[in-house]
Symmetry: C2
Subunit: 310 residues, 2 copies
């Protein structure tokens, strides 16, 4: 078992981070994305093409995408809830779509008003549309490590969901720990089920690198990122400042903070392309934009190299 | 490299946890210890025999020790700053002393008004006294993973400090990450320097199990506990609720929360002897005693098995 030398941190701050906040103006969201890119972020979820009535903070998604433009070497992702959202996102010209399928039947029924079966079908429909435009789709399996509704999800069911998503046209799979139920052991078991023991420098499923989307609900997000990394996961969703968490899921907490992940990976000699000092400036700007401290500890304590004053 | 099957969590909440809080009455501190013991804690730092002028929250140390009594199978530890404190603690009848030596010369001079050399000599004097009473001494090396004053501490210097502490009579050694500068890599390097590559189920130094005392300043305490555990460390200091942090060190943060550690270790099938549900009751009582929420995420989110209501 060897760990990746290079890790992709897909920045979800402009979407997952801000979606539950009081709405932030489009130009501030664009400046956030630009700050992230200047810090070295190369993969960013810029917006969500959802109903502005359902998620007011995500209004103006097309404007955000247009204003960000097409910076070289950058993957601009948008979350879409359905085929209509996918059409809008593809029209806006994003480079990747993310779709979420809930492994929790209860959550799915309650919040998306679809069964997981219907959600899988809707995802396949989005994938068909994206494929016609040559745009990849990352399918995010939420509650992949259990839900507060049904409890644990057996690893073989995670693998079944993932296989069905790939069969439905998903390019890559991301396992999401929506409410902080993942642990190093559960991550091991899920990865084992997905890869059937195949080991490599980078764990893949369906031809693409497996992603992890982790939350700090129980203070284990960064720990789980480390556990996944040790086992060969080379792609993680993180959010600048550690903002985020589903506005709809009981007991959700913020995402793993990008600065916390970069600090950890830097120290391990793993390349992320992100400059921590520049990222901390973005994080401080974000605090001003939302008007309260971000949850990230590194945002406040600074890099481990920071010296005491006086 | 195999991980321990059983881990000792030395509970430092009644000392490190409360020392920086507004003083809590002796009977409440005794009730805290009793609650912890009822939850299965078997090793607890009950008090600090320091000047009540310097640390008002630790006044009444002898009364706490007396009221706790001598429960069977329990190790009651007290922190002592010097020979006078050791005399008082030994008179009170504790089972173990902890002494702290700062690896940071600047911190030592600033806060203990001794050089590290003088501090090593003072520790040897405490060890001689304790040894005459047959009481073990755990020497805690603070800033073992660097300090905000001098920066990184080379691993070979950690090993030299540890060797000198054992030469001076310390029974066991605990490496403390006083300001959250430890990382999995730094822990690896320090353990490697201490054990010279010796591997076993449980890492030892000077004949006793190596301990880690970790803080959440940069949100890496639990992660570092996991990293240390993976490498064979079987003894950790944790604090119920995640309270704590030196009142004197720049940028200190709370200790690893005992409930967070128990939740992680339970899931890994590692025995701690501590019942998480009972511990969460103690943690809730502690919040009432200090009048504010504790930092632990698990204290609020509950065990991963907690279900959503309704």
């Amino acid at each position: 078992m060897s760990s990746p030398r290079r890790v992709i941190l897909r920045e979800v701050g402009p979407r997952d981070g801000l979606q539950a906040e009081a709405p932030v103006a489009v130009d501030v969201r664009v400046a956030l994305v630009e700050g992230l890119l200047a810090a070295g972020v190369r993969h960013v979820e810029v917006a969500s093409f959802v109903s502005p009535k359902a998620v007011p903070a995500m209004a103006g998604a097309a404007e955000v995408v247009a204003a960000v433009g097409r910076p070289a070497g950058v993957v601009r992702t948008a979350l879409v809830p359905n085929r209509r959202g996918a059409e809008l996102a593809l029209d806006a010209g994003v480079d990747e779509l993310t779709v979420t399928v809930s492994a929790s039947e209860t959550y799915s029924q309650k919040n998306v008003h679809m069964s997981t079966e219907e959600s899988l079908a809707a995802t396949a429909s989005v994938c068909a549309l994206a494929s016609a435009s040559g745009v990849p789709v990352d399918a995010v399996l939420s509650f992949a490590f259990g839900s507060p509704y049904e409890g644990d999800l057996p690893p073989e069911e995670v693998a079944t969901f993932a296989a069905r998503l790939v069969d439905g046209g998903a390019t890559t799979i991301t396992l999401a720990d929506t409410t902080g139920m993942a642990t190093p052991r559960r991550i091991d078991e899920a990865l084992e089920a997905l890869t059937a023991g195949d080991a490599g420098d980078v764990l893949v499923f369906g031809g693409g690198p497996i992603g992890l989307h982790l939350h700090e609900t129980r203070g284990t997000g960064l720990l789980n990122l480390y556990a996944g990394f040790q086992r060969g996961v080379a792609r993680f969703d993180t959010s600048v400042g550690g903002l985020g968490g589903s506005p709809f899921a009981a007991g959700a907490g913020g995402n793993v903070a990008t600065e916390d992940a970069v600090a950890l990976l830097d120290d391990l000699g793993v390349e992320t392309g992100i400059d921590l000092d520049r990222l901390l400036i973005v994080s401080a700007d974000l605090e001003r934009a939302i008007g309260r401290p971000v949850p990230s500890r590194v945002a406040h304590a600074g890099p481990r190299t920071r010296r005491a004053e006086g």
